[in-house]
């Protein structure tokens, strides 16, 4: 504890501001707090250290020491793996602290990848990157639960996502649907749910809150291949689902920056709708194949999950009635199916929808006195106008006036909110 703080406490006790007992309580509180903080820091450094050593070993062995015999090269490939296993086994056997477990598990994670890569190098086994990453990740997935390792769990999410994208988008070979990616994410789900339940405030949980939805955003496209229309619809439903998940009390009661689901859901929804506001590429043209495709089942599955989260929010009075973000998935689904008959009217409706979403966001920002949300709302409207800048025949004067008015809007709304906030503070004082 800082000595200045300690002297202050003695001073306060001396002047009868606080009792001796309270001073003691404060001291003990800060001592445990400091201990927790430093152990977290050690864990971070331990994991970073293992990560760097692991990557370093991969690079050193990748140099390819061609004057070594094959047997020696094989032994060197196995050395980090066996070493990592022994240290990890020791950490489990002696039930060592979290730092030990995190650091040894991270090292072992890289040792596994390193060993497989080296054997491939020694025998010139040609690289199928997705199979390599899959084998590596599957061999390390159990470490997440056995060592309760956040670092390995995050690495597994990142590698599983890479596998899904590599195989699904076919970066280096013919694209295939990465079903095993779903299995890996499902396997990690109980771990993530436990973290949300037991340590909702932890920084590591916030990181997971970002990683999980981002992973799904990156890979959803690999499950929907055949039809553009389903790609748009599935993404709008996914972002709508994120928004609704982010509105659940377990996330909504935390700080906004920790609520990745809400942020991603909102930004993603606006982005998709802006994309859809250009043309009718996402409109459904009735054909039988379309309604029997895998794309339909994936989209339907997402819709049903979103609908159940929505019902839960509704049943528990957690919906903000005017907040259209909750309902976008239903509106867009309807528009997708009727756009075939309505044609260009749908495009106009989409533009109105984005405008309303912007206004709703401004209202939420104003109600909460949150400048970030308020300006985000204004940004949505600006983005909509910017998009229309490219594809409308409006004259330069009209477009110019629109921009000037939104710019003035930015100044005025911020100014009035600042004024309101100040007067509110005065009243409460």
């Amino acid at each position: 504890m800082k000595s200045k703080f300690s002297t202050e406490l003695t001073e306060l006790v001396k002047n009868n501001v606080i009792s001796e007992e309270t001073a003691l309580k404060i001291r003990t509180y800060y001592q445990t707090e400091q201990h927790d903080g430093s152990s977290k820091l050690f864990t971070v450094f331990g994991v970073l250290g293992s990560l760097l050593v692991g990557l370093g070993i991969i690079l050193i062995l990748a140099h390819n020491w061609d004057n070594f015999s094959r047997a020696l090269k094989i032994s060197l490939a196995f050395l980090p793996l066996v070493l990592g296993q022994l240290v990890t086994g020791y950490a489990i056997f002696k039930n060592k602290s979290g730092i030990w477990k995190e650091a040894s598990a991270t090292f072992l994670f890289f040792a596994v990848g390193c060993c497989i890569a080296m054997i491939s190098q020694i025998y010139n086994i040609p690289g199928d990157l997705s199979t390599y990453v899959l084998t590596w990740t599957v061999l390390c997935l159990p470490l997440v639960y056995l060592l309760k390792s956040n670092a390995v769990a995050m690495l597994c999410i990142a590698f599983a996502t890479f596998y899904g994208a590599e195989l699904g988008y076919g970066f280096s070979a013919f694209p295939q649907v990465p079903w095993i990616y779903l299995l890996m994410i499902t396997f990690l789900m109980p771990y993530y749910l436990r973290l949300i339940k037991t340590q909702p405030e932890a920084n590591s949980t916030s990181l997971f809150n970002w990683l999980m939805p981002l992973s799904l955003v990156f890979t959803l496209g690999t499950f929907i291949k055949a039809y553009d229309s389903f790609e748009y619809l599935a993404y709008v439903i996914l972002f709508g689902l994120f928004y609704n998940i982010g509105s659940l009390p377990i996330f909504a009661d935390r700080k906004l920056r920790r609520n990745a689901f809400l942020i991603l859901g909102s930004v993603g929804t606006v982005f998709m709708l802006l994309m859809a506001s250009f043309d009718l590429r996402w409109s459904f043209v009735p054909e039988t194949d379309l309604f029997l495709s895998k794309d339909l089942y994936v989209t339907l599955f997402l819709f049903l999950i979103n609908a159940s989260v929505f019902m839960y929010l509704y049943a528990n009075n957690l919906l903000m009635r005017l907040n259209l973000f909750h309902y976008v998935f239903v509106i867009f689904t309807l528009l997708s199916f009727i756009s075939f008959t309505l044609g260009l009217v749908t495009i106009i409706l989409i533009n109105i929808l984005v405008l309303v979403l912007g206004l709703v966001t401004i209202k939420i920002g104003a109600d909460k006195y949150h400048f970030g949300i308020l300006n985000y709302g204004l940004l949505i409207i600006s983005a909509l106008i910017a998009c229309r800048f490219f594809d409308t025949d409006l004259s330069y004067i009209v477009r110019g006036i629109l921009f000037v008015s939104v710019g003035i809007g930015f100044f005025l709304t911020n100014y009035f909110m600042l004024k309101r906030k100040k007067s509110n503070v005065k009243i409460s004082n």
Partner: protein
């Protein structure tokens, strides 16, 4: 809560699996090298690299197509190749088939394309990466093109063992000298 002895027991199983995968890779490759048939494939190396496995030379083989009059081939369809040796000792195609041959020295790979007009099926040999010391991979590519320029009789070839569909690339030679040694000269 699970007891730490139980966790340790599961960990040992996981650790054994982690050891088993690379060990099985070694076993499979060693079986092909010790019992497979050796062929020399004429090739041309170029120099890319892999983030995990290091530098390698990518081998473009002269054997990459065969004429096929009987059936049309689809992309990515499996194709079985049987080889013979020409008068100079290099591998050429003896036979191709859609079904697995009865011999043991066949190679399994995938069709890259089929040209209806010339009735030619194209494929790539799967052993096309040869890992080298990071300072030698680029030199190997240069050495190969230099050797090609210097004389017509110069040849670069890969020594490959083939068994039951799998090919293991043992070494790459320029004029019968292992490429790593050739680069050092």
């Amino acid at each position: 809560m699970m007891k730490s002895t139980h966790i340790l027991a599961i960990f040992i199983v996981v650790a054994l699996a982690q050891l088993f995968v690379p060990a099985r890779m070694i076993f499979n490759q060693e079986t092909v090298v010790s019992t497979g048939t050796a062929y020399k494939f004429k090739t041309q190396p170029i120099d890319p690299s892999d983030p995990f496995k290091g530098k390698y030379i990518y081998l473009n083989y002269n054997v990459n197509s065969a004429s096929s009059t009987t059936t049309a081939w689809k992309r990515n369809e499996p194709i079985y190749l049987l080889f013979k040796t020409d008068s100079l000792g290099f591998a050429t195609i003896k036979e191709i088939s859609k079904a697995q041959p009865n011999h043991t020295d066949y190679l399994k790979t995938a069709v890259t394309s089929y040209d209806d007009h010339t009735q030619t099926v194209w494929f790539s040999l799967p052993f096309n990466e040869f890992y080298m010391n990071e300072h030698k991979a680029y030199d190997a590519e240069i050495a190969h093109s230099k050797a090609q320029r210097d004389s017509v009789s110069n040849t670069t070839y890969a020594l490959v063992y083939i068994l039951n569909g799998t090919g293991v690339l043992d070494n790459v030679f320029i004029n019968d000298i292992p490429i790593a040694e050739y680069v050092e000269r």
